[in-house]
């Protein structure tokens, strides 16, 4: 389970910061080929899906 937030870097790009259960951090680029970004998008999609 990763808790996500975002911030803007000095170039104006969005950086996704994830905090893992063990407290460690993961910083994810908004690069469609990055698998952590793919997982982030999948999590967003799952969370926004209508609940049955």
């Amino acid at each position: 389970m990763i808790t996500y937030s975002t911030y803007t870097n000095s170039n104006g790009d969005t950086v996704i910061q994830g905090v893992r259960e063990d407290g460690s951090n993961i910083f994810i680029p908004t690069d469609p080929a990055n698998s952590d970004y793919q997982a982030y998008l999948a999590t967003l999609a799952a969370n926004s899906a209508p609940q049955g």
């Binding site: 460690s24 951090n25 990055n34």
Partner: protein, 331 residues
């Protein structure tokens, strides 16, 4: 088997016109398990698949407690991975993923997937062998498995290494290709594995590294993952203070990575420090500013003040063996 294939196999086995070690013949990066950047001994979480021990190998365990460790290999291959399972284990998956650009060369071709395996106990053990592929281009969030063969308990030898192979037609798609073993019937057991090789053709030729050499294999692995620092008192990069409590520096990866990587970093107060003239202000973690697939601008927020413009070396302190910094562009 055609005359050409027979000749090729004999020549490879005997070191004839075709040398037995041919870089690039094997499509499995780190098939000989030379590289363990993450850990050489780790207990993996139940039903949470991931990269845990040998580079490029993806593991899944269902039931009981499973430990992966680096052990002695066989047949001139220095290392193997030992999978130690406990009562209740119903399945182990070991997988290796190729990105689409590399996998295209295999698609629709006759390929032979070979590996060395050593099970402490063979009774009831079965190994499904096959390829698998993602639902979208190099996006392995959803995958389809295609079993191509089975290694039965009768083909194993308790406590001894055996080499097994399965020949099949690799699946064709536009997304990528991986190769897997699904091992069932282990329960409480110990299984060692190494020498993964996937090659074009219908015979298993002698094992060779995808990257030809140790350095080539390491570079292949670092295209996907780079462990910058693990444990205590490890140098990381040079930084300079931009403010009294913030320092920034550029870190260059050893090879260009597959894509812009993620930065994974531990977060514990006092586990990192910046060695500058007159002191070593500590910080708990790094953040990242601008980065691409060649280098990254890393930022440290210091717990105590330093002089603006002061330059120094960022390193892991002696606080915790669990401190780590790594970049990942894994599939």
């Amino acid at each position: 088997m055609s005359r050409a294939q027979l000749t090729s196999t004999v020549e490879q086995s005997n070191g004839g016109a075709v040398p037995p070690v041919v870089g690039g013949k094997n499509f499995i990066a780190n098939g000989g398990m030379d590289i363990f950047q993450r850990s050489t001994s780790v207990t993996i979480p139940n039903t949470t698949a991931g990269y845990y021990a040998p580079d490029r190998f993806f593991f899944y365990s269902n039931g009981g407690s499973t430990t992966l460790s680096r052990v002695t290999g066989t047949a001139g291959i220095t290392y193997a991975t030992q999978v130690a399972t406990t009562t209740g284990n119903t399945q182990i998956n070991i997988e290796n993923r190729l990105e689409y650009q590399q996998a295209q060369l295999l698609m629709g071709k006759t390929v032979t997937f070979s590996f060395y395996v050593n099970a402490a106990t063979t009774s009831g053990v079965s190994i499904a062998v096959g390829d698998y592929y993602p639902s979208a281009l190099d996006n392995w969030g959803s995958v389809t498995f295609a079993q191509k063969g089975t290694i039965s308990a009768a083909q194993l030898s308790a406590g001894n290494w055996v080499r097994q192979s399965v020949t099949f037609t690799a699946d064709t798609n536009t997304t990528g290709l991986g190769f897997y073993l699904t091992i069932t019937g282990l329960g409480a057991n110990t299984l060692q594995i190494t020498g993964w090789q996937v090659e074009i053709g219908n015979v298993a030729t002698p094992f060779s590294r995808a990257g030809a050499t140790l350095q080539g294999e390491l570079a292949l692995c670092q295209r996907y993952y780079w462990a910058v620092a693990t444990g205590t008192v490890q140098p990381i990069l040079n930084m300079a203070a931009q403010t009294t409590t913030s320092a920034e520096g550029i870190i260059q990866y050893p090879v260009t990575m597959r894509t812009t990587p993620s930065l994974a970093v531990s977060n514990t107060a006092g586990s990192f420090a910046l060695k500058v003239a007159g002191g070593a202000p500590q910080f708990p973690t790094f953040t990242i500013d601008i980065w691409n697939n060649n280098c990254a601008s890393m930022v440290a927020t210091l717990a105590t003040s330093t002089t603006v413009g002061a330059g120094g070396i960022a390193y892991t302190t002696s606080l915790s063996a669990s401190t780590f910094v790594a970049f990942s562009s894994e599939l």
